[in-house]
Symmetry: D2
Subunit: 358 residues, 4 copies
């Protein structure tokens, strides 16, 4: 094994390069995995654009599929050579937050044990997965063996996109017979649509305007897809629900317009499940909020992580309940990741997700 590796490094806003870094050194509770496939997330593009700040010199990426290369001395229950994934969120399992089940807000190093978004470390507070090797902290809580027979492509969406998208439906507590609207059908919105379908919604209305994504939305389970460039989604959703509104509206973009529309299509007592990463203050129009008397809920959710979550998601893939391989529209070698960022950031060529192979 050589000493150095290739990695996609954040240099400064507007600039991510493929560079060289030492292969990570692991600690007692860590694992080193050799990446066999990874991808680029919309959040990485936010970082690229300088909209979400991270340290210069950081390796980006939080969606790893790979093989265990080395295990910390205290790590039990895994073996070198196992194929694994790790969630984008890597909770410690042992912080106060984790023990309370709030894994994504794990603040292992905080006195209180809680830190907002603290569970998201890869490509945010520690080096990430767009590299040849990745150090996985708290390996026992996070490494998850890939079931036999599943390809890298089949599980590539589990670490983030699928976990987040499903969580949109889960946090909305979608139940049998619910009507659900999903705003935006990017990778996460598509998985939210699939999640609403898997949880028993009787009517799923997706909102999107790119024709490819509109078609994918139907494939992932939407009954209706509203092209917001041609129709007012609020009026149309009201119409489709006989004036009642939806039980659950899922926001999967991170903008005021979709947040507000999601509020406006709720039935009284309905839930807005928000997945978007917002970059500006949000406004709640008081008329869409029944002056605070509508028994409405707003739930925000960060991608659930940890090996139990990953095990369950891969179980869904293994039994054929969900197939996200069609979201992978393009393939790149790690050597070409700069081109991949260029394509993905500009949403050219109908890209939904790219697969990156070291």
């Amino acid at each position: 094994m050589q000493d150095h590796m290739k990695a996609a490094i954040f240099i400064e806003p507007g600039r991510i390069i493929l560079g060289e870094k030492p292969i990570p050194v692991i600690g007692t509770l860590d694992a080193l995995i050799r990446i066999t496939m990874t991808t680029i997330c919309g959040t990485d593009v936010h970082i690229l654009k300088g909209e979400y700040p991270v340290s210069r010199g950081l390796t980006l990426g939080h969606e790893p599929v790979g093989v265990i290369e080395k295990l910390g001395s205290a790590v039990e229950g895994f073996t070198v050579g196992q194929r694994v994934i790790t969630g984008a969120i890597t909770p410690s399992g042992t912080s106060y937050a984790s023990l309370a089940g709030c894994h994504s807000q794990c603040g292992r190093m905080e006195g209180s044990g809680w830190r907002a978004t603290g569970g998201w470390q890869f490509g945010n507070t520690i080096d990430g997965a767009q590299a040849e090797y990745l150090r996985v902290p708290d390996a026992m809580a996070n490494l998850t063996p890939v079931p036999d027979g599943l390809t890298d492509e089949q599980v590539l969406m589990c670490p983030d996109i699928l976990s987040t998208g499903f969580a949109g439906a889960e946090s909305g507590r979608v139940s049998i017979g619910d009507m659900v609207a999903v705003f935006a059908q990017g990778p996460i919105g598509l998985c939210a649509t699939a999640g609403a379908r898997l949880m028993g919604a009787s009517l799923i209305i997706a909102v999107e305007s790119l024709p490819d994504r509109m078609a994918m939305a139907r494939k992932m389970g939407a009954d209706h897809v509203i092209d917001f460039a041609r129709q007012d989604p609020v009026a149309e959703i009201r119409r489709l629900t006989n004036g009642r509104g939806v039980d659950v509206a899922i926001e999967a973009l991170g903008q005021q317009a979709t947040f507000e529309a999601a509020l406006r299509v709720l039935r009284p007592g309905g839930t807005l499940s928000s997945l978007g990463v917002y970059s500006e203050d949000l406004t709640i129009p008081i008329d869409a909020f029944a002056a605070g008397l509508g028994d409405n809920h707003i739930a925000t959710t960060l991608c659930p992580g940890g090996k139990e979550r990953m095990r369950r998601l891969m179980g869904m893939v293994a039994s054929g309940r969900i197939d996200t391989t069609s979201l992978i529209t393009h393939h790149f070698a790690l050597d070409d990741i700069e081109s991949a960022y260029d394509l993905f950031a500009h949403q050219r060529d109908g890209v939904v997700k790219v697969a990156i192979r070291p």
Copy 2:
């Protein structure tokens, strides 16, 4: 029984008078109750000020204690002469919303069965309780016998204040060991404080600046009371929770400042339980919202009604778990209700709640 009765009538913004009206005629499913005690709510003051629109000529008031005078022909299970209360919210029990457990958003007359705040009828969409007699719709779902031995004063807060305040803690899902902040200690905030205490919070921090209400807050269960006129409540709550923030923050005023402060004191993954009636758009500062990634929840709650709710609340009063008689700072005859409005609207003389007796 005479034909006419006295009633507090909304004439126009700024003007509520004691006038005369025919005693209500009841339908098959209704009951007529003779009011023995009622009160004025902050919402009535919103109506008086023209901040919340209702029809001119409406009798106000939604907090009735009384005696059954007459029963509609289809009403079973009650007898004339029984002492009863009725919640401020009078669900039908038979609408789609009610059958879904969403009683406050009951839209009995809507095609869909749902209407935002539709369960609130008294003094909003039908004549209310500040009168000698009150027509109670859907009587079987709403009349609730007062347990023997309880006075009118003891149960006067059950129809609205106590139900709403407790619901602030309930919608926040306060559990044993939670830390809770309650913003504003008016009648509803005080009952929210009591509710948080009754549900097992280990630390309750109330925010208020009127000395009388600060003292009452301690009596209702607050461990700390922050005078926001002298201290920054956000900083102080952070300090009292060792930097972590509270599990649940309850907003009981209906203003941007308290809504925003409630967001800012939450621990990651915490819940903002909002009881306030807002009159302007709300802003969610993105930094207080972890960009939408904090696993936070915002729940709004309208006063729960219906006879099962009232039965449970009176059970709490009967067993001494809660005593709200100290909230009644002033007594008036119905004949003097205009003076009562004047005192209450201007919060003079340390008023918290007034008791009105026809």
Copy 3:
């Protein structure tokens, strides 16, 4: 309209006949529906056999599809001639139990407002649906319009079988990625299998031995079907779950053997969701119960009713999420209902459910 009608009447244990009865007279809150299709339930067979006692002379049946013939004077929101169904369980909506959301245990006439299984009236405590006409109590809470385009056959399972079966999965709180076992694949077990699939289970193991039902189980969503006559289901389920056990086990038969096996296949902390109607005391083997320390749950569920439930179920049918027409293996005229009972009670000729048409 004539005065009398045909009805399937319970004469005594072992004897149900097609007889004549007066068409029901309706009260203020009732509706009269003309039955267009109904069916026979396993519970009716229990009644026939004398295993579940009802009054002699009672009309049986609790699964009505029909047309509104007449409405009580206080019933609003419906019109004569509408096609409707009504749940097997007809809650009042206005009892303490109903207002608490516990509709199936509604005790409208009880002082307390609660009665065990009190929501089940048709063919149990009042005349039922195996007749030309049916009186529906508390019509506003129970009549549910059939969406345009749905046939009687398509909605025939909604009143009981589908509602009960789905409730098995719902009470088990099946969530995305769960492993679920369903014991017995009669009509209710088949719908429980479908419910587990609709709620996101990643692995569904059905247990059955009749070949036709084993095939149907696969069609309704089972990944594996264990023939208990050939394999030990407990050992096989342990094997299929890698020794861990299932998250949720659904009992859909009502016998000690299946109840006990359901307990034995649970993972620690798992839930046994019981739908069966038991006729003898049950035993919990202490070794299958971790001495009471396994964090296990046992939930029993009676068919959910009321119009909101029926609306949601028909929404699932309308959007193609579930199709139960294949469960209807035989058709009979009401005139031949005695033959239908004979066939169904003896489970001859691969019968699953019969459709009865007056």
Copy 4:
């Protein structure tokens, strides 16, 4: 520091002696704590009597209060000399079960990650707390600093009794206004009574016959205490709830009689929350179970552990919400633990709990 220590050792059924053992050697993730106070649990008496099997030579006890003596090399966030407690249940935090929030069923060493009662290690599968020193596995997930100002006596019940007792109310989902019955008022039943009170029950009925414990039950929050030696608790609870039954019945003994009585006093739809350790098969009488149609729940709960739980419980002690010092009726030196066992096992001299000090 010497090499050896004193410890209460299980020799064989009927025989626990104070012996000598090497001070435990700790691993990377462990901590060593010097015990300053511990106690004896009813489960230890089961072990003594041979009713619950453990390895011969095991040190008993699972309720440690102490001071950190040594930390494993990978343990962060704690310092030698800190006063700490550790729950009776010591989850890893990193197993599949723990990550699913099912800490008490943590199977760190199992392939599946789950093991029934696997979280209970002290005095069960590894050496326990009735000794001068204790090795704490997975120290980061389990060590919990004692808040300043709290004595050993004040926190001694947190590791097991208080956590278990409260969990009885929590698993029963006691909510504001519920009526609750608690069967048996030993240490755990008394804490269940306190828990029901803290969660907002309006009526708490305790069942017990020892006069001292009956008096304590009132002090912990019971409104009524039924002496089962003089009155039939089922009939009496029915009477006190006006024939309706209780919303939640908590079983805190572990016998058929109390389990069955708990079932019989439930209202339809009510929950039996079981805490007892049963040593024989249980019977569910079908008449008390509404033939499986009563919408009843049975929940069993093993003591919740982990440092977040301990932090919350000590928060309740620190704010004065609960005081369990009165349960400590006797004090012993560790040297006299054989006498302590003798007293406790025979329930002599009004003993509730003993405090043992090395």
